[in-house]
Symmetry: C2
Subunit: 300 residues, 2 copies
């Protein structure tokens, strides 16, 4: 079945970085664009950008109290008792977006990095315009992975859900708190592709011929067998093999006490976010995704 969608005319692209304060790449680009934003200029829309959690950036921490990128669910924003630092920050960001873009169609692009060996990823929910936009990025940049998560409270809690349309760009591997020239270039390339596509959609320049691409849809998170900071770690056979095939019986964990532990799933999956530093505190070792192959079509 074809995935097809049209788009409203996009009035504003809003790019955020520093949603996780120790992911330096987006923060660097925001600072770069504050000095010279000609890179972002397209004639058919305005492009704005902002550093979403400057306090966490200053502290070189993912967040100060709670993960900002899980605070944007409407019912949480409306919860009057939700007054942690990041909950307050999310409330203010959301209201600023509403005020600044009242009546406008916005595309929100949130820039992230991962310690996992995942390359360039477009993160999106499975709403047709978002998934189509992600697919159009991959169609233009074949090295990109499209990582689709079913629309849910989980996806709606992300900053990117605050736009009319929203995608995340996730680049890795890179340690937290570090800048890498190649990762900055990858992020810039992905941002440029998104801007070019938005402009072509707006101006009728985008190709309406159906095209087929593969993408990955989220299945599940896989926890360490003994909780966070236990004996088990990612097995060296799995380390760095994001998006490769994981077969039942393959080694996934190793520990001095637990020895080698194998994947007990019933079918082949693709592991992602393997050994992501930010997920240790949650006890999450990696996620699994399923490869999909679909035809996409942009409607007028």
């Amino acid at each position: 079945m074809q995935i097809k969608s049209s788009f409203n005319k996009i009035d504003n692209v809003v790019i955020s970085g520093g949603t996780h304060g120790n992911e330096a790449t987006g923060v660097y680009l925001i600072e770069e664009w504050e000095k010279d934003c000609s890179f972002l200029k397209r004639n058919s829309f305005e492009t704005d950008f902002f550093c979403s959690n400057p306090r966490a950036v200053d502290l070189n921490l993912r967040y100060t109290e709670t993960d900002l990128n899980r605070c944007f669910l409407d019912k949480d924003l409306e919860d009057e008792s939700a007054v942690s630092y990041e909950e307050l920050l999310a409330y203010k960001i959301k209201n600023n977006l509403k005020k600044n873009y009242a009546g406008k169609t916005t595309l929100l692009v949130d820039m992230h990095t991962t310690t996992s060996n995942m390359g360039i990823n477009i993160m999106c929910d499975d709403e047709a315009p978002n998934l189509l936009l992600a697919a159009m990025v991959k169609h233009r940049l074949p090295e990109v992975h499209v990582y689709c998560i079913k629309k849910s409270d989980r996806t709606d809690s992300c900053l990117r859900s605050s736009g009319t349309y929203g995608i995340g760009i996730e680049v890795g591997p890179i340690p937290q708190g570090i800048l890498r020239h190649d990762v900055v270039e990858s992020m810039r390339k992905a941002v440029a592709a998104v801007l070019d596509i938005a402009h072509e959609i707006n101006t009728g320049g985008a190709d309406e011929t159906p095209f087929s691409i593969e993408y990955f849809s989220h299945i599940a998170e896989v926890a360490y067998p003994d909780g966070p900071f236990g004996d088990a770690m990612i097995h060296k056979d799995l380390e760095g093999r994001d998006y490769e095939i994981l077969h039942p019986g393959d080694n996934i964990f190793y520990g001095a006490e637990c020895g080698n532990i194998q994947y007990e799933g019933k079918e082949e999956v693709h592991p992602v976010f393997i050994n992501e530093a930010a997920y240790y505190e949650k006890g999450l070792a990696f996620s699994t995704v399923k490869k999909e192959h679909r035809e996409f079509k942009l409607l007028k």
Copy 2:
């Protein structure tokens, strides 16, 4: 000229991890050995181990107030006004070591990791027994790099200087706060080699035939041209090329504003600690070392 040394009989090997609280590999091994330390047992000496900064480990931070591994200089320990958390911790660690090993010959081994692509490194000062010990490790494990820093207040401020003999083991690349199975194995292999060599020295089993190896001696630290967190980052041509040759004129920095910046040194050097996360706050981009080649001999 030959570098030669004898050793006193080593009574105790003391292994520390967690001197930097976000270097998880050493912390993991200390916890492993707390459950089963048979891996460390050699008949000619006792092996002890300890987690040196458990508070920083709990917080997943390099340190809480100041770098513990710069606090061990005698004159700083004697400074009655030095009462930051890590200065107090260093004072107590040093006194514990004095009390527990009074009259004993100790070999202190401090386990570290780096975000730089440096492989397995034995860090030492240029005191003959320490450099010879490091050379013997490389002679046994050719993949090891020996990284020698001239004995100075800098080397004496390190925890490893608190033993009769002292070396550091530094393994990378690995992000801060992360465990990698392969890095745990590298660290274990290096620790085992040090223990085996100490045992052979003690029991007369070590080969006294002179041997030649290459090692690297520290020249200088190279700062970012615009201070910490400025526009310049490590150029992609340099990233990950630790221990390779850096020629005058090679690209070392890139920034959106500053463009490409070249190495202006007069001679070839070898860059190390390239893009080490912990050195951002000091504004240090990498260090340079010089390749040396010498003959070593263990004296009876």
